[in-house]
Symmetry: C2
Subunit: 294 residues, 2 copies
Amino acid sequence: MHFLLENNMKTRIAIIGYGNIGKAVEQAALAAEDMQIAGIFHHNDNLDAIDADVAALCTPTREVPAMAERILRQGIATVDSFDIHGQIYDLRQRLTPIAREHNTVSVIAAGWDPGSDSMVRALLQAIAPKGITYTNFGPGRSMGHTVAAKAIPGVKDALSMTIPLGTGIHRRMVYVELQDGADFKTVEKLLLADDYFAHDETHVIEVPSIDVLNNVAHGVNLVRDGVSGTTHNQRFEFNMSINNPALTGQVLVACARAAVRMRQEQRHGTFTMIEIPPIYLLPGNEEQLIRSLV
Amino acid sequence: MHFLLENNMKTRIAIIGYGNIGKAVEQAALAAEDMQIAGIFHHNDNLDAIDADVAALCTPTREVPAMAERILRQGIATVDSFDIHGQIYDLRQRLTPIAREHNTVSVIAAGWDPGSDSMVRALLQAIAPKGITYTNFGPGRSMGHTVAAKAIPGVKDALSMTIPLGTGIHRRMVYVELQDGADFKTVEKLLLADDYFAHDETHVIEVPSIDVLNNVAHGVNLVRDGVSGTTHNQRFEFNMSINNPALTGQVLVACARAAVRMRQEQRHGTFTMIEIPPIYLLPGNEEQLIRSLV
């Protein structure tokens, strides 16, 4: 009886999109004691009759807004790792009335940056209100810069690594596999002139194969030196060295849990991670969590 | 008119207790754009007619529970930095019905550990659910160990420094100023046998004056190496090097803001920091905060 009760209380999560992130969400959901996979859907499947408590949107970022609207209109909660920093607030405003109208909850920008890093930035600004926060990324692959490099004429495949130089300044290490007959010097010149690369220290390196360089490791070094009250020189640092899709998938599952909890509490709407109590991200008994974590 | 409106919206904070922490809360409140000090009270003042939105309880930790009850019964929100880890959940359960009955909010254990570190621990457990978190404290003064050292016969004054050795193991460096005629070897033997020190590597050092060693610096190195989904070797680290009372005072002011916000939302009760959305800790415009931090 106890088992059935527990089983009934599992959150049924649908996974929409089955690339790196969708697969990582599947692994994180299977490993979670309180989750049950309600279905895995390719993003062009029929999505109009999904039976789930929450859907993890693992489609390319630009498809997220329309997909979120479509799922929310079914009253299903959504989580996504929409990652265009400048458009997150606008997405929140777009989805808020839809989520409210359908008595559901959407958690957006739930990855590691934006996402868990955002929670750390908010906390550090609260406890040292004056000061500068630097978020240093890498070493790790930049998706945006990799796509830009691949678009250069003569490039067959490319990989752009982000190397942190501190104080938010980054070096770009761009590995290119050339098309037959392409001239490296010409490719290098075009790439260095591209707006994605023109403003940073950039090195272009020709390699015989991009495939053998493939590695989903990434990292963050987030630093704040600030003032608490009138006391200067309060120093904080958050570091991580991680498998990028695995962490993103895990954050999505944690936020799926939070979305369902907030819907149970009738707190309908759209939320970024800094609007969520950290305990909502965790499974298990409230007393036990408070006793072990606080 | 705009100014008056803003002024009216300031949170009126009372400070109860005026030692290191009370003074730090005063500084943090004066530096905060949205706070106004409603009064500073010694803990034995008449506290039965306080006119404030929220009271920061800056009394010794053992006086906090009774003081919180007394203030909550006036319908005033409270924040405290109650720091006896094993008793935090019990304090929450004790204050919850009182806060609810009087339509108010209490935020407890709002310092840096318990407090902001707790939020980091909760976040890291959510994003790497399997693994071990080590919280390494120091170098910095341990209040509990300092009090224990002062209680040893023959000790005039003492200071116990906590030195982190990693994986949650700490060395105790205990500086003692002896009473006239006291024998160092006897004091050392008694101290090393005391339950506070018997389980850790402890060094006792005689000094002519404790006063000249006084320094409120402290630090934390919090490490988690865990698993996201099925992916091992996800590594996280949070470091800080801080002025201890200044940070505690700032956290109290941030949580005073959150307490008032939660009361406005009719979410009455008692909360630890892991139950609070990080954005509630911050002053200012929601849109601006989300745009700059997420």
